[in-house]
Structures are given as C-alpha cells and as structure tokens.
C-alpha cells in the first residue's frame, strides 16, 4: 500500500512514518523540511499550497495526516490557513485521486471546554467550545474530515493526548529548558491527574487505525498511555530524565487560571523567541485532571500501548545521555520532590 504521511518532520510524524515503513508499506512524506526518516520518500511542500498537496496525494492508497500548525501562538488566520484550509485542500485532493483511506491525527482538546476530564471517552469535536485557535481549528478540521467519510474515502480520527518522547521540541524541551533555568512553576498542588502518550504508543495507535480504518471509519479515538499521573510527577519525570532538578515552586492554580496573562509571563521563553507563553489554556490543562476511558479505543483499534510511562522516562533519559537517573523509574530512589500540600 502506498501511504502518504503529512507532517513527518515532527517527533510524532517521524515515528509514524517509520512505523508504517517498517510494516513494508511504500511511504512518502510531505512537509516543508526533510523528514530524516530512512526508507521513505520525502516530498517537500506546504499544506497551504494546493498544487504541492495535489502532487503529494497523487497515487496514494492512504493518507495519514499529521501536518498542522501546533504552536501556541499565532493569529486565527494563520491557524485556519494550515489546519482548516489545509484539510479542505487535502480532502479535495484525496477525493480527486481516489484515495481510499485517511487517518486524521487530531487532539482531545477539540472537545475540551476547560473543565476537568475524568475517564471520559472521545466526545464530538466542538469548535464553539474549544479553547484557543489551535483547538478550534483542529475541531473544525476534524468535523470536515468526518463529514467527508464515505465508503470510497474512509476517514478515522486519532486524538493522542499530550505526546512526548525523545526529540520532543514541544512539551519535553520546554519543560526541561524552563526547569534548567529555574523558571518552571507548578500550578496548584500538582496532584491533578494527567494522562499522556509516549510517542511510540501514539505511532502504533495511528498505524493500527490505518490498518483498521475499514471497520472503524467515521469515528474518533482518544489515544493515551492509560496511565494517569499527578502532573507534578509527569513533569518531574521529564526533568529527572534530562538531568535537571524538578520544579519546586508553585503558583496557585486559581490565580493561574484567573490571570492567564500572569502565568503566561512566568512561562515565557527567552525574550525574542517566537514561541508562545504559557496560555490560560495550558494552565487549565496542567491544573485540572485530564484522563480518558481507553476501553473503546483499545478494543476497536485492536491496539494497546507497549511502552509504559516508566519505560518512556528511561528511554528519554537514554536520549538525554542521563541513563544514571533511570533507576528512579525502575525501582525508586531517594531523588524526589518535596511533598506539596
């Protein structure tokens, strides 16, 4: 099967392309920069240039669509151009080329209205309720894609939650960098349970969705490790893996939510960096519970995660060259956080 993977230069995109190629499919990737994945054919281009998209889609049996504007900053128009219009372009090209299968990689934030999530399954995407340009445009894109689902173009949506792993420039790199410079506050008591997804698990889930699309098309699936942890433990796990002292100072969660701008200032990167601050959305994400019911996902995709959180932290430590810290994740050590309270 010839599979087009869009957005394969990011951490998850690379892992997905590698997984699918490993399963002896003919993989082509589409993004602005080389994917760096061996055994695949890179087609460079932009989602905002329809001829680029049409050229990439041509001849594909299936598409795995990861390309998106994911940054936390930018204007509404910038997000819409890539995420919504890009999806429209892709769907048109897929229809034109007679592509049979489409896996859309989305985010649980498309159905998230700022409250906690405790053991919910995927709810319908809700652009009106979604917080921030990213979530709103992804919600619109998801609805567009699902409305295009048909016997000829089978569409399935996979929503991995909080993907992290070696080479992650989004969450892990930011957390580690801020912790290194002593600028990583904890929000609230840090006990809110957050489920996350180790990158390899997200990749195998997406591959499973591709393989099962004939039976699961038209549906959305949240994908996680199924191991909710207090947010403070999750962040500390990343810091320790990177050999950095975990955060120990706290900002009341209520204040963080109430004054998104204040917390944005605390989380701001070095001046001049184009990357965004901590937004109110992220403040909510990190101070209220976010964990999901994975039963339907696992049963219908015929998939389950193979890398546990602790194994993920160990692999992250290896990547950072801090294998010494790995025993913490295996059998505990004295290195730990002060209890918050």
């Amino acid at each position: 099967m010839r599979v087009l993977v869009t957005g394969a230069s990011g951490m998850l995109g690379r892992a997905v392309a590698a997984q699918i190629a490993h399963a002896r499919h003919d993989v082509r990737t589409f993004q602005r920069r080389p994917s760096g994945v061996s055994g695949v054919t890179d087609l460079l281009g932009s989602m905002t240039v329809p001829p680029d998209v049409a050229r990439a889609v041509a001849g594909s049996d299936a598409i795995v669509h990861l390309a998106a504007r994911v940054s936390l900053a930018g204007t509404a128009a910038e997000f819409e151009e890539v995420n919504v219009e890009g999806m429209r372009t892709l769907l048109a090209a897929a229809a034109h080329e007679g592509v049979g299968r489409l896996v859309v990689v989305s985010s649980p934030s498309v159905a998230h209205a700022g409250t906690s999530i405790v053991g919910d399954d995927a709810r319908p995407a809700d652009p009106a309720g979604a917080r921030g340009h990213y979530a709103r445009t992804k919600a619109e894109a998801e609805l567009l894609a699902l409305s295009a689902d048909s016997p000829s173009l089978r569409v399935v949506v996979v929503r991995p939650h909080l993907v992290w792993g070696p080479g992650d420039t989004q969450l892990v790199a930011r957390v580690v960098e801020r912790a290194r410079t002593g600028r990583l506050p904890l929000l609230g008591h840090g006990a809110a349970l957050i489920d996350s997804t180790y990158v390899d698990n997200a990749a195998t889930a997406i591959k499973a969705a591709l393989e099962r699309v004939d039976t699961v098309h038209g549906r959305s699936f949240v994908v996680t490790n199924g191991e909710p942890r207090p947010v403070v433990e999750l962040l500390a796990g990343m810091c320790i893996a990177a050999g950095v002292k975990p955060p120990a100072w706290r900002v009341p969660a209520g204040a963080a939510r109430a004054a998104g701008s204040a917390i944005e200032a605390l989380w701001r990167l070095a001046p001049g960096a184009d990357e965004p601050p901590m937004t109110r959305f992220l403040a909510e994400q990190l101070s209220t519970a976010h964990w999901f019911d994975q039963r339907r996902t696992r049963a219908e995709l015929g998939w389950s995660p193979t890398v546990t959180l602790d194994e993920g932290f160990r692999r992250l430590a290896v990547w950072y060259g801090k294998e010494d810290s790995s025993p913490l994740f295996a059998r505990g050590s004295t290195l730990g956080l002060e209890p918050s309270g």
Partner: protein, 887 residues
C-alpha cells in the same frame, strides 16, 4: 366536621400530554355506573392493559393503585411504566390500574360529598365496570390506602395481596391526630387551606426528600389549578374521622378491623420522615397484619413514591409472591433445641460462686462481685416485676444501659419473659442511636440516666424505666414511669409468666452503621442459643471458665455460657481505654485457664501499655489460656505482641458480624501458616476456616462488580461471602427489601446471608477477606479488591496503614493509594517520588497516585474500618484538581 365545602360539578378530562414521566397512552376515561343511583360517573385512570394486549402479553394479575390526598394517579406513573417495560422485555406481565378518585385528579367533579364508605363503593363500582377479576393486588397511599383496603376487605374472592405506602387506618384514642391535619381541620382554616388556596397541596408537595423538580411539582398541581378543582381536597380532609361521631368513623373502624382477617401477602413500604403518618401508624398496621413484609426507607418521607424507587420494590415483591406464595421470611431454625439462654441461672441459682465481676463499678470503690445465686434471684425478680407492670412476650424493650451487672440482669430478665431486647451501641452516636431506637419502636425503654435524658429530649418512643431511683419530680421530668428497684420490689415473690419458645423473637441487635444507617438484626431464642453454643464449642468456654470481656458484647453472654464474666476497668464506649494492667487485674479475678476477649483497638492499647506491668501482672497474664481479638482483622505483628504478653495463651481472631457473630476463626499460628502459603493474586486477610456449624460459599463477581455467581465452595474465586449457620440472624427488622437482597440466589428453605464482604476460599478451605462489595474498583483490566494491595503497600517501612480506592467511572477506574506514614504526616500531600515509586513497586497493578494523610478516617465502633467509598470521593476531588483538604 360539619363544614360545608364548595363542591362544583365538572366533567372528567384527560391530563395534558406532556407531563414528565407520564405516558399519555396509559390514560383513559371510563363511564362507571354509580351504585345506589341511576347515574354514572366518569373516571380518569392510568391503565396499561391496552399496551399489554398490543404486545401480546397476558397479565398474571392486576395491581390496583389508589392515590391519597391531595395527589392523583400521577403518583403511580413509575409503576405503570416499569410494569409495562418489564412485560415488553418478556418478563412477567402485570396490569397496573391507577385511578383518579372522584373529585380528584382528572376524574369527574361530582358536586357531592363522598364520605369514606361512598369512596370504597366508588372503587367497587369502577372495578365492576372494568369487569376486573383476580388476582388483584391493591396498592394505596395516604387516605387512598384506606380506600384500597376497604376494597380489599370487600373483595376477598379476587384479592391476592395488599401493598401500602405511608397509610393510617386507625387513630388511637389517647393520642391527638397529627398537628398538620389538626390545623387543617379547624373549620376556620379548612376551606382556606385546602380549597380557596393551594396551601395543603403545596405543603404536601414540599414533603419530598430530595425536593421535587419544578416540572414534577407542576404535574401534581395540574388538576388542581383553581378553587373549583380543589373541592375534593377539602372534602377529603373534612372526611378524616376526628372522633367516633364522625360519619366516616364506623367505616374506618370496619376497614381497620377487617384487615385483621386478611391473611394474604402484605407489603408495607414506609418513609419514616413523615410529619403526618409517623412510625406509630406503621406499628398499628403491623399489629393488625403481623405477617406483613415491612421495609422502612430511612431518610424517605410521606411522598415515598417520589423519594425512593418503590416501583421496582413493589414489582419484585409481587413477582416473588407468584413464585413462592408462602411468606418470604425464611423458616426459623429447626435444629435440635438447645437449652434456653438463662438455663445456667436456673441450674446455678443456689451457687455462691461468682458469676459477674465489675472491676471498676460506676458507683466507684472496690470491684463488685455478684454470685450466681444473687444474679439468678435478681433476674427472676426483674422478670416478674416487668411482667407485673404489663410487659408481655413480644413487647420490645430498648436497653440503654451501659454494659455491667445491671444490663446483664435486665437482659436475662427480658429474655426470660419473652420480651424482645433492642440493643443499639452508643458507638452509633446520638443521631444513629435515635434513628435506630425510633425505627425499632420499643414499647419500653430501660435506661441509665444519660440514656433516659436522651430518650426524653429526642422524643424516643416507649414507656421509660430507669435503672436509678429518681425523686418524683425528676422522674416526671424525664417521663420515667418505673425504676428498676421498683420492679425488683414488685417482682419479689410474684409469679413468672411462661417462658417463650425457641422460635419466639429474642432480640434486635443493631449493626455498627459503618456502612449506611444501622440495621436492626432480629434473632430468635434458638438462634441466640446457637450463638452461645458456637462460642462454647469453639473456645471451650463453660462452667468454671473465667471470661475477661474487654469487648462488651461478650460480657453479656457470660451467664448464658455458665462462665464467670469479668469486666475490666475501662470506659466501655472507648475500647482504646483498656490497659495491660487492667487486663492483668481482671485476669487475677478470672483464675487460671481464663479466656480474654478484646477488640482490635483494645488489643492495640494493651500492647502499647505493657511498660506499666508489674512482675505480678505478667505472671497473672501468663495464666491466660485463650485470647481473642474480635470485631475486625488485626495485623499479625499486633497479635504476636499480645501473644508475648500471654505466652501460654492461644491467640485467635474470629471473623463475624452482627448478623452472625462467629463465622470463621484463625489462630496466630494459622495466620503465619497462611502467610507462607501462596494465596491467589488477589490476596486479602486470611480469617481461617469456617467454624463447626457454619457453611461459607462465594458468589462470584461479574464485570460490573455485582455478585451474581451461584454461591459455591470452589477455591480461588473472588466474590461475595455468603454464609449459613444455626446462629445466623433470622432477618432484618422492618427492612424487607434488604432482607430479600441478603438472601438473593441462595437455596430456598435454608437460611443464608450475603455478608457484603468480598473474598475467596483457598484450597484448604480457608476464607480470605478482600474488602467490601461497596469498595470494589472497576478498572479497565477487571475488578480489583482493595485489601490485598493494601497489605502489600503496608509492607513498606514508611507506610503505617494504607487504603486503596478507585477514582473515575466504573470500568475505567484507576487505583489510588492513600497512606498513613511513619512518622505521621502533619498535612495532606502527594507522596514523594520515592514513596510513590515504592508503592508502585509493591503492587502488581497500576497506581495512578499516592496521597499521604495524617490519619485515615476510621469508624468509631471498631476503630479500624475505613470507609473507602467516602475516601474515594475525597481522593477523586483532589486528583481532579480540587483543594487539598483533609479526608
């Protein structure tokens, strides 16, 4: 009542089609010829007959529902729907007819007064018009209950059973009618309260617990929107016979007496929070229909039909009647009769040996020693005294006397004359105790001063007898009718009434209430004798044994065992107050070969206070033959520490509950042996093998955490622990539904009990307790029981105690460990990474979070049971991002 109410005539109609929960398909209007006249009346009723016919379901019977005042057939909407749904689902089909009485709801406004006798005839006219024949089960609420009973009395040929929600059929002459009705009945108030304004209607609608939703209230109001529609409400109130001259008094009396002859299955569902029909009216109904199945829904009130799921209960009950026409109460034991509980008081009645010793009598001073002769005589005198003031077999006597010689004497006196003793533990707290005493409706209360003061202030029912002598003024203030001393005087030389039979009810013992409201557990004399026999056989207690009772319930059984009971110096309401030195002093009185009964909390304090022991004390403790820690499992290390203190004694921990005081037993050696054997993965606390006369089965859990498996002795299966024994309770008091659930799926004709505990049997027949049914955790990987993981976590040096709870929805829940640490934490926090890693490493399950607390909340009575359900709610709130409060 001669008040003339405005009664306007108007036609019947159908209710609006959009009332919540009411299916318009079940509404119909019917013309009914009126007996005694040439006219006809138009009725509105709910009737699922057409629906049943449409789905081809042939009804096995009809439930005829009659609402009270000021409601209408809307009250029964859930029963109509549920019965129809059940029939649609292929279950047994029941036709349900719920009428709007004439002048009420959407039935015709007749413009004529309809006293009770007329209303009873009206209902007959309707069933004639419907050509309704049997079997019919009537179901009434409030004054509709009286009308339905009137129909029942008049139609024995079609009647199959009777069901009632809060109803009264008789007003005792010596008590005033309920205050709300008294007020409404004043001529100056009646018209205004019931007709001109909707005050009576609104007051009734405000009685629901929890409050009714606005739309439901509006539905109740719908047929009574203006004064011309409310004439029937006023007429109904005016028809309450306030005295014997009232025109409806004779008909009410006819019905009230007529139901005594109804020997048919009867179900009384009751909401005790009812300002109108209080428990006293339930008592009256039980008195008239003693075979009735009774269930009191603690916390529910007059609008029981709105407060609880009465419809499921009623349907299940009528189905049971179909399957098993005999009364649902299981047969009492027919095992070989064992001597009565008081037989040693007769046999040793001339002995000067010591029967009871109070090491620290409340009166102060030296230990109080009571010989068998003295105890026997006192019991006889009190028994005869009680009889002489009118206490009869079957009367309920609530004992609010602290453990000690007085309580023992009163207890055996009551047993001897067949009075039913009601015993509730002060550990329930005043609120729980009040609820228990009110629910048990004692005829008499025998109390010490604090108990009587509480009885007075809280308005507990019953004639009051004091253990202390009061001055007349104080006695009057406390409404005390008699003192124990008076009874003794009265009983001196007076004859004793005949003894009760082994099948008569002996006692109502209340559960601890650590899981929901305390339940009254009913024992017959045979069953209590069996409790004694089980203890005697298991621990070799008999004549000559010294029994040191650091756990109050066992002190009471001493005389029944023929043993000498010694109550050590302790505050009986606080087991923690027992010291090692007090035990040693009590053992000295008990003599060698004594048996020491302790609670887990008492045991812990005894071990903690050994430093104060003298060499003599230690020598005395060396003479103990057996000691028990009863009430809850104890850690091996604690039992071992106590064993060092009593080196010649075999340490035991029995497993039991209020419903069956002794089920299994294990010794310290047994615990060690079990620990070395590999249990199944679920783990748990090994409580040993069943004692001689007990059978233990396991009803396996399904994926939803319900124990649906057929009870089996197969090893290695986790499920609800189900037991049978001669000394098992007879039933729960006035909790017919709870009783039914406790026997669900067990062999008919045998007495079995579902314990609510979860565990498994091992290949050697030992029982392992894994937790409570209500504390199961439904993870995506299956059902997890808490005790096994807790024990593994407690092996971590830093952890003193652990509770494992589930958070999130059933089926996708995650485990959370809540731990007490060594040293104890001062505040609630997340565990350190190291402790969390240690906890996760100790259990083969995924643990989402570890919370540290200064102290896990623990119940008063056992000082050891953790309410994991409440803890789960607390942990869930924190881990959702809520404030870090204390549990």
């Amino acid at each position: 009542m001669r008040y003339r109410l405005p009664l306007a005539a108007s036609a019947a109609s159908l209710p609006p089609a959009d009332l919540p929960g009411l299916d318009p398909a079940h509404s119909r209007l019917i013309d009914v010829p009126e007996s005694g006249t040439t006219g006809a009346r138009k009725w509105h009723l709910l009737d699922n007959a057409a629906t049943l016919s449409a789905i081809g379901a042939a009804p096995v019977g009809t439930i005829l529902c009659v609402h009270g005042n000021p409601t209408w057939s809307y009250l029964w909407r859930r029963l109509v729907s549920r019965a129809t749904d059940a029939a649609t689902a292929g279950e047994e089909a029941w036709r349900v007819i719920a009428v709007d009485q004439l002048d009420m709801g959407y039935s015709e406004r007749t413009g004529q007064r309809r006293p009770l006798a007329r209303r009873v005839r009206d209902l007959s006219d309707l069933t004639d018009a419907l050509a309704l024949d049997g079997p019919v089960v009537t179901f009434g609420h409030d004054w509709g209950g009286v009308v339905s009973l009137g129909w029942a009395v008049d139609h024995p040929e079609s009647l199959a059973g009777v069901m009632l929600l809060n109803t009264a059929v008789h007003q005792p002459e010596d008590t005033p009618i309920p205050a709300p009705l008294r007020l409404a009945l004043r001529p100056s108030v009646l018209g205004a309260a019931t007709v001109a304004t909707p005050a009576f209607l609104e007051t009734t609608l405000a009685l629901a617990h929890p409050p009714l939703q606005q739309e439901v209230k509006d539905a109740y109001r719908a047929p009574y929107r203006d004064a011309s529609r409310r004439g029937g409400i006023g007429a109904f109130v005016a028809d309450i016979p306030v005295d014997a001259n009232h025109e409806s008094a004779a008909e009410l009396e006819r019905i009230a007496e007529g139901i005594r002859e109804l020997k048919l299955p009867t179900l009384l569902l009751w909401g005790p929070r009812d300002p109108i029909f209080s428990d006293r009216y339930l008592d009256d109904l039980i008195d008239r229909m003693p075979h009735a199945d009774v269930h009191r829904f603690e916390g529910a009130g007059h609008l029981l039909a709105e407060d609880v799921d009465y419809s499921a209960a009623a349907l299940a009950w009528v189905r049971d009647r179909e399957e098993d026409p005999a009364d649902g109460t299981p047969p009492a034991t027919t095992e070989a009769a064992s001597p009565p509980l008081w037989h040693y008081l007769d046999e040793l009645g001339d002995s000067s040996d010591i029967a009871l010793i109070e090491m620290a009598p409340r009166s102060g001073g030296a230990p109080r020693r009571v010989s068998w002769r003295s105890l026997s005589g006192r019991v006889r005198q009190i028994a005869a005294g009680l009889a002489s003031i009118g206490v009869e077999k079957g009367d309920r006597v609530s004992l609010l006397v602290p453990p000690g010689a007085d309580l023992t004497a009163v207890l055996y006196a009551c047993l001897r004359i067949g009075a039913i003793v009601v015993v509730a533990d002060a550990g329930l707290g005043l609120k729980g105790l009040t609820r228990a005493v009110r629910g048990a409706r004692p005829d008499y209360v025998i109390g010490a001063p604090p108990g009587l003061a509480a009885a007075r202030v809280l308005g507990w029912p019953g004639i009051r007898i004091s253990t202390a002598r009061y001055r007349a003024t104080a006695a009057a203030a406390l409404q005390v009718s008699h003192s124990l001393a008076e009874l003794v005087e009265l009983g001196r030389g007076a004859p004793l009434p005949p003894a009760p039979t082994t099948q008569d009810t002996a006692a109502v013992l209340f559960t601890s209430g650590s899981t929901g409201p305390a339940k009254g557990v009913v024992y017959t004399h045979a069953q209590l004798s069996a409790v004694r026999d089980a203890l005697a056989a298991q621990y070799g207690v008999g004549v000559g044994t010294g029994l040191v009772a650091g756990f109050a319930p066992f002190a009471l059984l001493g005389p029944a065992l023929g043993a000498r009971s010694i109550t050590p110096d302790m505050n009986v309401t606080s087991p923690k107050s027992l010291t090692a030195a007090s035990v040693a002093a009590a053992v000295a009185e008990a003599g060698d070969g004594s048996v020491v009964f302790l609670s887990p909390a008492a045991l812990a304090n005894v071990v903690a206070t050994t430093d104060a022991l003298t060499r003599t004390d230690r020598k005395r403790l060396g003479g103990v033959r057996t000691f028990l820690s009863a009430g809850a499992p104890v850690a091996e290390v604690l039992l071992a520490a106590a064993a060092e203190l009593m080196p010649m004694a075999i340490p035991h921990t029995p497993y039991g509950m209020t419903e069956a005081l002794l089920i299994a037993d294990i010794t310290l050696d047994g615990i060690r042996e079990a620990a070395s054997a590999e249990a199944n993965a679920a783990g748990g606390v090994c409580v040993g093998a069943a004692i001689g006369t007990t059978r233990i089965r396991i009803s396996a859990l399904d994926d939803t955490g319900n124990a649906t498996g057929e009870p089996s002795a197969a090893p290695g299966v986790t499920g609800e622990i189900v037991i049978s024994a001669p000394h098992l309770k007879n039933h729960y008091d006035r909790l017919s539904l709870t009783d039914r659930e406790s026997r669900r799926g067990t062999p008919l004709g045998e007495r079995w009990h579902r314990t609510g505990d979860v565990g498994h049997l091992d290949a050697s027949g030992r029982l392992w307790v894994e937790g409570r049914l209500g504390h199961l955790i439904g993870t995506a990987d299956g059902v997890v029981t808490p005790v096994g993981p807790e024990q593994r976590i407690e092996t971590i040096a830093e952890v003193a105690r652990a509770a494992v709870v589930g958070i999130g929805p059933w089926g996708t829940s995650h485990l959370v460990a809540v731990v007490e640490t060594v040293p104890a934490a001062r505040r609630v926090s997340l565990a350190s990474m190291a402790l969390a890693a240690g906890v996760r490493g100790s259990v083969p399950l995924s643990v989402a979070a570890v919370l540290v607390v200064p102290r896990l909340p623990t119940d008063i009575r056992h000082n050891s049971k953790i309410d994991r359900a409440a803890l789960a709610v607390w942990a869930g709130a924190i881990l959702e991002g809520g404030r870090m409060t204390r549990p």
